[in-house]
Symmetry: C2
Subunit: 384 residues, 2 copies
Amino acid sequence: MNASAIREILKITQRPDVISFAGGLPAPELFPIEEVRAATNAVLDRAGAAALQYSTTEGHPPLREWIGAQAGIPASNVQIVTGSQQGLDLLGKVLLDEGDTVLVEAPTYLGALQSFQPYLPRYVQLPTDDGGIDVDALEEVLKRERAKLLYAVPNFQNPTGRTLSAERRQRLVELTAQYGVLVIEDDPYGQLRFSGEAAPSLYELGLQLHGDPDRNHVVYSSSFSKTLAPGLRDAWVQAAAPIIAKLIQAKQGSDLHTPTLNQMIMAELVHDVLPRQIERVRRAYGERAQHMLRAMQAHFPAGVEHTTPQGGMFLWLTLPGGVNTEALLPRAVERQVAYVPGRPFYALGGGENTMRLSYSNATPAQIDTGIRALGGLLQEALTA
Amino acid sequence: MNASAIREILKITQRPDVISFAGGLPAPELFPIEEVRAATNAVLDRAGAAALQYSTTEGHPPLREWIGAQAGIPASNVQIVTGSQQGLDLLGKVLLDEGDTVLVEAPTYLGALQSFQPYLPRYVQLPTDDGGIDVDALEEVLKRERAKLLYAVPNFQNPTGRTLSAERRQRLVELTAQYGVLVIEDDPYGQLRFSGEAAPSLYELGLQLHGDPDRNHVVYSSSFSKTLAPGLRDAWVQAAAPIIAKLIQAKQGSDLHTPTLNQMIMAELVHDVLPRQIERVRRAYGERAQHMLRAMQAHFPAGVEHTTPQGGMFLWLTLPGGVNTEALLPRAVERQVAYVPGRPFYALGGGENTMRLSYSNATPAQIDTGIRALGGLLQEALTA
């Protein structure tokens, strides 16, 4: 499996006979179709041709302002991007030179590795446990390595579903500030907490530490894809002014601007539809996660470890050593169930005995059937 | 002026008191607002949640198929991109290594230079005249230089409005094939011809030469931005399968996919609305170009040379040597008229005495007032 693993797996996902826990797809039955229709009509009524014209590279001003107000920062610290994937790509483009050292969680989000790859960084993996990045290990790495940036998904991480603890967040922000390492905090799932208590974002902690959004060494990336709908590709980056200036220039060369109509639709939806939608999605994913955890308890053999997410879309399995989840995938698909093998999520390899399961886009019945099939397969693999 | 010249000029454009011939903006009063509304409603009725879900990196199949059918090639040779700016960026990413030699027209499209810049190519300028690229000069360059690719806008070029003649197209395609140089044909304006006769695209000539879209050394880039509306950011690239495969991988890292909703809307519009729209835009821009040429005749001093476009949105002025159009721009804006100085369109400098005028987004009355003001300024500059 190479960098296009996710894409190939999304193809399997499309086969109607396969129950897929593979793709990181939001539940489409929760999408606010009628609200998007109403917002589009309102935008075309009010803005008319301006909704179909070129617009500024920075983004639609009311949308930037709303995002800035939520974060307690000026709109000028917000760059609208075409999906958070573009945010990561542009950050790679403006921040990374060939050979720069990038610290990543082990495992980390595969899409970020794909975004950074063209800029040829050198990765150092940070060990993680159920509390997220091991910050003592981070300190050792920072002493040893001249790192340029640290990339992390602190909330309900993709792929593990784990969350970085509040104490570790504080220490991570202080350590990276002390060693002059930029942080990219990727937070597409933060709003989707269904249990436990929210911890402050790294971005907020950076803001507290420096007292000025233009001195914050934490860059924040998020998106409306998981809370509202991915097909509009509305996402954003929050960063200090010098980084925003570079992002604007890079984005101008990359796609000029995010579609005008899509930004205006989102500016309509953020006020009333988005909060309702977040509640809806949160409740549904919490139920699905519970359902999957219960099904795993019923159908999985002993020795299979799993994470217990407090939000988001994913959980992570670790099988007893020796079981290779890539080798097992074709047999799973034969039994009409799919997952993502864990290895591609490791920048430097490892995790052959791990896999990612997504519960966001499966009904309770599909979860039962799929987890039962997967459990049978794991049973066989473990006793083989 | 640096790479963000266009962006800064677009800001001037937004001042309501300035008549701007600067921005390359389509006429918004021609946008098919009600048709976009109807298409959106039809898409949401029919596709429902699928219109708001993630989709494939290659693009929405019916849109790819329609584009392929128009070009007489399979859909698999078409990659949908988020504005043709993204097509150029991705092509730069997958085709260019640092120091690669890229042949460009002098002058050339500024946005292409911005797209390619992160990949650090070395530019060689090709001389042009009213028939486009001087192909004898091209042959000399090809003998001398080990070029990787040639980038050209053969129809109603941005910035000059010039069109490459049919004979030269044939020769350019043969020469580049012979010397193993890839061609990127950027054609956002080709459909907007309002006088003269259409010549075959370089892509078509390449297809004839090789007899197989997967062996064509010409890559074609186009867009719905100038024919239908730029705010949707729907555009595409046609290329041989090995290049498409690389584009898919690069696009996956860049923005995963072009917004689903926007592609579905376009797939609705291409059948009936697009052809009507092309007729409308063509007629309007033809009238505006005529009007600007007449106004120039009435108000410009002797010695100012201009191109006479047969389509598209731009024409190009060459002033008698010694007049610097960058230095003149603030004085023009004082008189409430704006243009783009020519120098940034030259990859290696030059053109200090040139400027680009756009007639697409100005009424006849604005053209009269703006050209009269510009004529007065040029008169002063020439007699100073």
